[in-house]
Amino acid sequence: MTTETTKMTARSVQVFYGDNHAIKDVDVDILDNTVTAFIGPSGCGKSTFLRCLNRMNDTIDICRVQGEILMQGENIYDPRVDPVQLRAKVGMVFQKPNPFPKSIYDNVAYGPKIHGLTRSKAELDEVVEKSLRRAALWAEVKDRLHAPGTGLSGGQQQRLCIARAIATNPEVLLMDEPCSALDPIATAQVEELIDELRTQFAVVIVTHSMQQAARVSQRTAFFHLGNLVEYGETGQIFTTPRDPRTESYITGRIG
């Protein structure tokens, strides 16, 4: 299932770290129920742009963001928007699995608790179970929910982080190289999960693996030196890219 419904719209986005112009006038539409991959050489601004989508850059002092990012018509940079609330709607999973030093249960329950999304223990139990099921981890952990999250394997920890991100019932899920610390089997499991997740969310994934972008995404955006060079249907990008810079990059030539 892929829809053409736009979930987020970025217009003329510029990002500066001090004098470093890291993102240059980027326009992009993030579609609902679609996995959008950001690819490009190291340092081209993929992570920076991804962090714009849930205002994670606010936490970096020297970082300035200009332009507009709309989520269902509302500018997420509007002063009235609470970034903490925003991050519950636009969840994020990082490169290295980073479970809290707490139990598996508490890792997943944390978000719903601080956002006050549940009224009873029973309801919280339900959210935890549902999130672990959606993250394809339930079967593996249901008998040890109170064991520490840090005791899981790398792949399980990453799926725990995904469960934690989706426990607040977000609309968009951002993932920054979520598989780069995982072995091939754990990677395949997470990729399978990503494909499953797009039935419920808009997923945006930064990946340095072009094969992964080709495997999991329906849309691909190629960034180069802070510019969004090309954005299109993944099959088109990998078979007939329009821009010679995209072609050089995806075919592994010096660009």
Partner: protein, 238 residues
């Protein structure tokens, strides 16, 4: 051959190896076509037998190209122009293999025809047609090696001439058969030969289309007028 190279140089070597095999295969096919036509005209049974035996080498090259292509896809996951290079190599190798089979069939029939009285002028006409098709193949492989879309388009258009030659031969054979039924056996063989050469021309056109796809990423949209109208001929019109 290409303007820039891969970071992994082994990738370039693999792609180049496939293209080298294509060019060798094409060389063998061109030679087989010319030799088979010469064997027909000069009634040289030894040369015809050599053409028949030589088809094995052509088949082996096609297999090699397909294996190399499969390996490259599995190991290097080619994309964009690299992917088109691999896909077109497989298709071009397939087209060349068919041309090789037709040349082999021509050689086989030339051995049979050598046992029959000659049909006046026909072997010379066949040789001219074979020469025209061999030139088409040579041009289209030049277009492939140089990534020359203009030349590929020229080959596509020139197939018309081969079709015309075939139409003329078709008429000629019908005339011979009507004039003297003793010509029927030989003319049937000659007609199959002419038809097969015409098909080689179609393969050259197919290769030209692959070259255009390789370079531009899309097949030519505009249809090419077919000049083979023998399907409509009754043999009674003059």
């Amino acid at each position: 051959m290409k303007k820039d190279t891969h970071i992994t140089t082994a990738f370039d070597r693999d792609l180049e190896a496939i293209e080298t095999h294509i060019m060798r295969m094409a060389g063998l096919v061109e030679e087989a076509i010319l030799n088979a036509a010469t064997a027909l005209e000069t009634r040289d049974e030894a040369l015809a037998s050599a053409v028949r035996a030589g088809d094995k080498a052509i088949d082996a090259l096609e297999e090699q190209i397909n294996m190399d292509a499969a390996r490259l896809i599995a190991l290097r996951s080619p994309t964009a122009a690299d992917l088109r290079t691999v896909l077109t190599a497989m298709k071009i190798a397939g087209a060349l293999e068919r041309c090789g089979d037709y040349a082999k069939n021509l050689a086989k029939r030339s051995n049979v025809l050598a046992q029959m009285p000659a049909v006046a002028g026909s072997a010379g006409s066949i040789r001219r047609m074979a020469k025209a098709v061999q030139l088409q193949l040579k041009n289209v492989l030049d277009a492939y090696a140089r990534r020359d879309v203009v030349l590929a388009e020229q080959v596509r258009q020139d197939d018309h001439d081969v079709d015309q030659m075939y139409n003329a031969l078709f008429r000629e054979f019908i005339t011979h058969m009507m004039e003297d039924p003793r010509n029927i056996s030989a003319c049937m063989h000659l007609h199959f030969i002419a038809k097969n050469i015409e098909r080689m021309g179609d393969h050259a056109t197919g290769i030209a289309e692959q070259v255009i796809y390789l370079v531009t990423g899309s097949l030519p949209a505009e249809a090419r007028p077919k000049a083979d109208n023998t399907a409509l001929m009754t043999g009674t019109e003059r």
